[in-house]
Symmetry: C2
Subunit: 302 residues, 2 copies
């Protein structure tokens, strides 16, 4: 087992989590939760998504949420905003995003469901995004990088092509997303083997959902390939509006617990993130799905 | 990643699962659930525990459950019964057990809580068990082999001593139990590294609880050390009456899913075990805790 001394956990609950909750969440509550997450010690928080509000009404207040977060916490945390096209990226930059997650799917059908564009069209628009990015970090995020609800298992060579395309036009980082949460450790190994061989200097980030309970096993596999940045969501929120069957992300508090127990630093205050996860579930009136947040203090300490 | 072509999953729900349910389960229901589990394709099922019924009233019908299971399914499945002492082992053998799980804890305090004996006393009684075992397979099961609710992290050298002691007097197999479900992959690696170096020919079995969500990551780590037998419980039931904070075992259906997805055979009918897990939860009126059993068919197939 090859272990890093430290991993970076990027908190995506305010974007991936909130976008999958049908009941409207007030802007005030979103900001309140972001404030609490900031106090946990994250370097990066994905705060919102600049997506068409007709498609995802929950994200209609993206600019307000992002501006507020930036005003309060710009000195402590970098804020990421998701975009699916040039207009979204422009709005994110105008609102002060420190980084943009630009999503392209490895599956043509999922890309169309998610963005109403072909993969080629999405990549062409990404070229424009890279031209206007200035000081904003551009993260090229490959959705359905392992499994697609429509196309099934994704050939790693398809992901290699996309990584090449994204890097060629200016991506600063590449995110690999198991959008459905159905990939297994063998697939993670197969994908990372080829990607690290082909792109040894690219700092890949893994975004893993935990639909089938294999999330932490997948993280463990990725650590062996030198991956040390992961996207998770407090309280295990998340999903994909255009990936039927996708469940939540790995609960941040579960990953923090496993890393700390394994002697790997995260920079996150465990007691604090547990409290925030429980607060989120209570405030949004959703069940606690993460393992750690459900435990009593007696169970957690053993 | 070093993967076997096949793993064997030993189903422990009727023992580890039922013993932790306070509401009495009728003998009829226990037998009905065992019948359903047999149909899933297990080679071995831990059917019950010959423990003092004053301590665990749920197990008072151990002999009836075991005899019934043997009468119906002796040609298809081996039935295991748990014992904590000589009297329990004698009762198990009389009732027709094919194998006995004899439990000794690596932690002195947990052993006393669990058996009212010192570890030395437990081992002395195990010598007697091995003398009367005849054709019954004797499994030496080391509880709290990694973490103890009272003593904290267990030194692997303590487990080495116990394995030596168990093998010296006639144990046929050795089970390593993460009784509290709080061990992490680094601990699994540390323990298995030393055990496989010291006992390269011993077929260790892993019994893992999933209290903190690290269960499948721990299995993945164990596979790399050549471990290919695991004890799990349908519907994720289980715990330990004398280990405060312990939650359920890995849900059998979650492990079957991960193994099949990774291309590893289990011999278990996945659709069938999912149905049985859901049936158990409904019949016993307990929440579904496993990942797979909670999913819709849409989520499970992705």
């Amino acid at each position: 087992m090859k272990l890093p001394k430290k991993v970076e956990i990027i908190e995506v609950c305010p974007r991936d989590g909130f976008q999958n909750i049908k009941t409207p969440i007030s802007t005030e509550t979103k900001i309140e939760i972001i404030n609490k997450l900031v106090d946990c010690g994250f370097n990066w928080i994905e705060a919102t998504s600049f997506i068409n509000p007709k498609a995802i009404p929950q994200m209609a207040d993206a600019a307000e949420v992002l501006k507020n977060a930036k005003e309060k916490h710009a000195d402590k945390v970098g804020f990421i905003a998701l975009a699916l096209n040039l207009i979204g990226a422009q709005r994110a930059i105008e609102a002060g995003a420190d980084a943009i997650t630009y999503v392209v799917s490895a599956s043509e059908k999922h890309n169309f469901e998610n963005t109403r564009r072909t993969i080629d069209q999405s990549i062409n628009e990404f070229i424009q995004v890279c031209k206007i990015k200035e000081n904003v970090k551009v993260r090229f995020s490959i959705a359905t990088a392992l499994e697609c609800p429509f196309a099934g298992t994704i050939d790693p060579s398809r992901v290699v092509q996309l990584v090449e395309a994204g890097l060629a036009v200016g991506a600063d980082e590449v995110v690999l997303a198991d959008t459905t949460g159905t990939a297994n450790p063998v697939q993670i190994e197969a994908l990372l083997s080829i990607l690290i061989f082909r792109f040894p200097k690219v700092p890949f980030i893994l975004h893993i959902h935990d639909t089938q309970g294999m999330g932490l096993a997948n993280v463990l596999t990725a650590l062996d390939f030198g991956i040390n940045r992961f996207e998770t969501a407090a309280a295990g929120l998340g999903g994909c509006p255009y990936a039927p069957g996708a469940a939540g992300n790995i609960a941040t508090e579960d990953l923090v617990n496993m890393m700390h127990k394994m002697g790997i630093a995260t920079g996150i205050d465990y007691a604090n993130i547990i409290d925030v996860a429980r607060y989120i579930a209570k405030k949004l009136e959703i069940p606690l799905v993460g393992h750690m947040a459900r435990l009593t203090s007696c169970q957690a300490s053993n």
